[in-house]
């Protein structure tokens, strides 16, 4: 595909006329900021534009398609998979100038938002009205809803409430060429035609630029409770979780903390559990104020094989329990100043063999695997720490990371449960050739000249 390799004077004039001084930058310092993301990979860009409304996006996309200028849509640039990295030189479209909460309805249980709205800000607005937007990526304070939708972000509550795709009722996107498409709507049920809203969710900005989202909300549970449970091993911890599910209990969150994480927590701060506790589960349940105690007791009965237990029944107590889980990410740097993260997903019953296999692969390369994550939905955070200034360590880490991706497929898993393919994952190793080809044909229907996020996603 031939793309514009630089901006001409007339390109610049067009952009200046469309976006004005405030909505456009060619300044090298500004371009530097938009030329990478949380993957810390980097590409080259000609300009960054900041549309204020859908009309501007339409005019821009008509022009970009005609001029074969590559477009890299961007939310808050938090992709760990290089989803915002400009793989081919082009123009970054920052959606942060479109961050309005257009409508939030307590009767329809629906919100309409612009893509640049921060996830946590939106969740707080919903909660003020007694509503909940369940997708809760751990990075929700940092991310935008547009970014969450484009990667189909998951989060801690996915085990009970599902992921972002389960809460997108409709969307508006601007196609290359400038046409505005409206998929879905405000109804909870809609089976007319193909569900193109679902195409957009998780499409990693390859089908169009999202300009409006219609999101489903649910009533906010009145109460919640958490329990942190200690075991001799991850084997014991996960078999305890199996008992919980077998008893018909569906927790709002079920997190596992592996042996290496426990070692890290013990080395880096205060830990209330006894020394023989080597792995943990953290459960959260939610529901009505009057029944939460009963549900909590029901959960506790299934955890009778635990070595140690700590319960929390209101926000302050729960926060204390969750603080141990939240500490893992930052504390893991004791194993090395740099990190290569994985977000594989496996069927729930395969978590233990997958973690053990990952650990073996890491150990064979002289590495320790930091494994924790969302046990309830089989999403494993498999992180490797290393020292980037040590070439041998960096090479062993990269090799291990690569092998983990291969190993996850042995368990019928996915190389990415949450972060997406971005520009770093080789999704071809997971997707069948025919299926991959079909996806590329669909992509071309939306974007015939492939100006959107080339070499990213799939």
């Amino acid at each position: 595909m031939m793309y514009a390799s630089a901006l001409t004077d007339s390109h610049r004039v067009f952009l200046e006329d469309l976006f004005g001084k405030d909505g456009l930058s060619f300044e090298p310092a500004v371009l530097r900021v938009y030329s990478s993301d949380a993957s810390n990979e980097r590409g080259k860009i000609f300009a960054v534009v900041r549309p204020a409304d859908t009309g501007q996006v339409q005019k821009f996309m008509r022009w970009a398609d005609a001029e074969r200028v590559v477009v890299h849509p961007r939310g808050r640039g938090t992709s760990l998979a290089g989803g915002c990295v400009p793989t081919v030189p082009g123009i970054v479209v920052s959606t942060l100038g479109m961050d309005k909460l257009i409508d939030i309805s307590s009767t329809d249980f629906v919100a309409e938002v612009e893509p640049g709205l921060c996830t946590a800000t939106f969740q707080a607005e919903a909660e003020k009205r007694g509503l909940m937007f369940p997708p809760d990526p751990a990075s929700g304070k940092a991310t935008s809803l547009g970014g969450n939708v484009c990667t189909c972000a998951g989060g801690l509550r996915a085990v009970k409430y599902g992921v972002t795709r389960d809460y997108v009722l409709g969307c508006e996107i601007v196609l290359p060429g400038g046409q505005l498409m409206k998929f879905g709507g405000r109804t909870q049920k809609d089976v007319v035609g193909l569900d193109l809203t679902r195409f957009v969710v998780g499409s990693e900005g390859t089908l169009g630029i999202v300009t409006r989202l219609i999101l489903k909300l649910i009533p906010k549970p009145e109460a919640s409770a958490s329990v942190l449970v200690g075991y001799r091993s991850l084997d014991d911890a996960l078999s305890s979780m199996t008992k919980v599910f077998a008893a018909g209990i569906l927790p709002a969150a079920a997190e596992f903390i592996g042996e290496t994480c426990m070692d890290i927590l013990t080395r880096t701060g205060e830990c209330p559990w006894p020394g023989e506790v080597k792995a943990m589960m953290l459960f959260q349940i939610d529901g009505g104020r009057e029944t939460i105690g009963l549900e909590n007791a029901r959960l506790s009965r299934q955890l009778d094989d635990a070595l140690w237990k700590m319960e929390g029944v209101d926000k302050e107590e729960e926060d204390r329990l969750w603080s141990f889980r939240r500490r893992i990410s930052a504390a893991s740097y004791v194993l090395g100043p740099d990190r290569m993260g994985g977000d594989m997903a496996v069927p729930r019953g395969k978590i233990l063999p997958a973690v053990r296999r990952f650990e073996e692969i890491a150990a064979a390369n002289g590495k320790r695997l930091v494994a924790f994550g969302h046990a309830g939905d089989g999403n494993i955070h498999a992180n490797l720490h290393y020292d980037a200034s040590d070439p041998d360590d960096a090479a062993r880490t990269a090799k291990t990371h690569h092998k983990l991706d291969k190993a996850v497929l042995e368990f019928g898993g996915s190389i990415s449960g949450e972060h997406g393919g971005g520009s770093l994952k080789d999704v071809g190793r997971q997707l069948g050739a025919g299926e991959h080809e079909l996806m590329l044909r669909i992509r071309k229907l939306f974007d015939p000249n492939l100006i959107l996020n080339p070499k990213k996603g799939y």
Binding site: R76, A142, D338
Partner: protein
């Protein structure tokens, strides 16, 4: 070598400058991308950097030094500190002037304030208005009527065995001496033995932000030496920014056991006034707000103290008032916008705001219009 920013983006929502613009280049993570390649501590080397300080300066220096990003950061990186480091190696006349303004011109502040009040607003060019307003605030606005008379509850047990040195800070020493005398009277009434604080100088915090490390170290050294000579008493502080800066001596100018002694000695005045009982006066308004100074961090005792004295205190939704660092001089327009946003974070019915930082009081009053007034809590309590 220190590891730099991971670009995780957790700093965006806590950054008051980002809040003004909602653009990534104004966020701490954006500024770090520009400054880390210049900082040897992070493996940077300006000679090899693609963008030198001159190319990034106009963006990178938009920081009020509130340090909220450090708290949010998994690696506990402070963009204010990084900016200070880069400034230290790139001296600029504004930083030199700032040092003069703080270290030498304090005694002149009241006269400058008085002169500023004589200049009609209409004569001030628009870009200079924020500076003119700030200068006017330097003049003393007269006695505020206290909202409550306080006394120590006789049942309350406060440890008054250790002598106390009151650290007033530059604002109180030069233009709001009544805060020092007020704090002095209250501490005496509580039974504390007060030593002469005359050997203290500026805490040095603002010199740090300006990258004037030599001046900062000299001030820190003088303050520590005076504390040692005084027998290492408690140090009572009523300004959040001074407290933040003094707290930073531990691990810097002070190490080992003495750093621990220093931290144990540093105490907010509101902590020392434990067990206060209040009798409200008719000057107490029906509705009032509290502006939380960034520099108390998670340990804001003032709000707990004030909530007991003045129930119904309404906390504003704004972030930083924009006073910190040297932003007021490097970008007075942005600094003013931040102050205005902070004031906008209070409901319309509130025209009296109380806080516990000398800088916030000055900054917010300079931005306040109509009959809005921002007071240090020491203005609102008397014996």
């Amino acid at each position: 070598m220190k590891r730099g920013c991971t670009q995780c983006g957790e700093c965006l929502n806590v950054c008051p400058v980002y809040r003004q613009f909602t653009r990534e280049e104004y966020s701490p993570k954006g500024k770090r991308l520009l400054m880390e390649p210049l900082a040897p501590e992070f493996g940077g080397d300006e000679r090899a950097a693609e963008l030198n300080w001159e190319s990034v300066r106009s963006l990178a220096r938009l920081c009020a030094g509130c340090d909220r990003c450090r708290k949010a950061c998994a690696r506990k990186l402070s963009t204010a500190d990084l900016l200070a480091d880069v400034r230290a190696t790139h001296p600029h006349w504004t930083q030199h002037f700032w040092q003069l303004w703080i270290a030498r011109m304090g005694p002149l502040w009241p006269s400058l304030g008085l002169m500023a009040t004589l200049v009609p607003d209409g004569l001030t060019p628009k870009p200079l208005k924020p500076l003119h307003d700030t200068a006017k605030i330097l003049a003393d606005r007269g006695e505020a009527r206290p909202w409550g008379r306080i006394r120590k509850n006789p049942e309350s047990r406060t440890d008054v065995s250790k002598p106390v040195l009151l650290f007033s800070g530059c604002t109180a020493n030069n233009v709001r001496k009544k805060w020092s005398s007020g704090a002095n009277d209250l501490l005496l009434a509580w039974g504390y033995e007060l030593s002469d604080p005359g050997g203290f100088v500026c805490c040095g915090g603002t010199m740090h932000h300006a990258g004037r490390y030599g001046a900062q170290r000299a001030m820190e050294g003088q303050n520590v030496e005076y504390w040692r000579k005084s027998g290492k008493p408690r140090i009572a502080v009523f300004c959040a920014s001074c407290f933040h800066s003094l707290h930073g001596y531990a691990g810097g100018v002070l190490t080992g056991n003495e750093a621990g002694e220093w931290l144990a000695a540093l105490t907010p005045v509101s902590v020392l006034l434990a067990g206060a009982e209040v009798e409200h006066t008719e000057a107490k308004p029906a509705a009032y707000g509290y502006h939380q100074p960034c520099h108390w961090g998670d340990n804001d005792n003032d709000i707990k103290f004030l909530q007991r004295l003045f129930p119904g205190l309404h906390k504003g939704t704004g972030l930083c008032c924009g006073m910190g660092g040297i932003l007021q001089m490097s970008n007075p327009g942005l600094s003013r916008r931040m102050a205005e946003s902070t004031l906008d974070g209070f409901p319309g019915a509130i025209s009296r705001i109380v806080t516990g930082c000398s800088g916030c009081v000055m900054q917010l009053n300079a931005a306040a219009g109509g009959d809005m007034r921002i007071e240090h809590w020491l203005d609102l309590v008397s014996l």
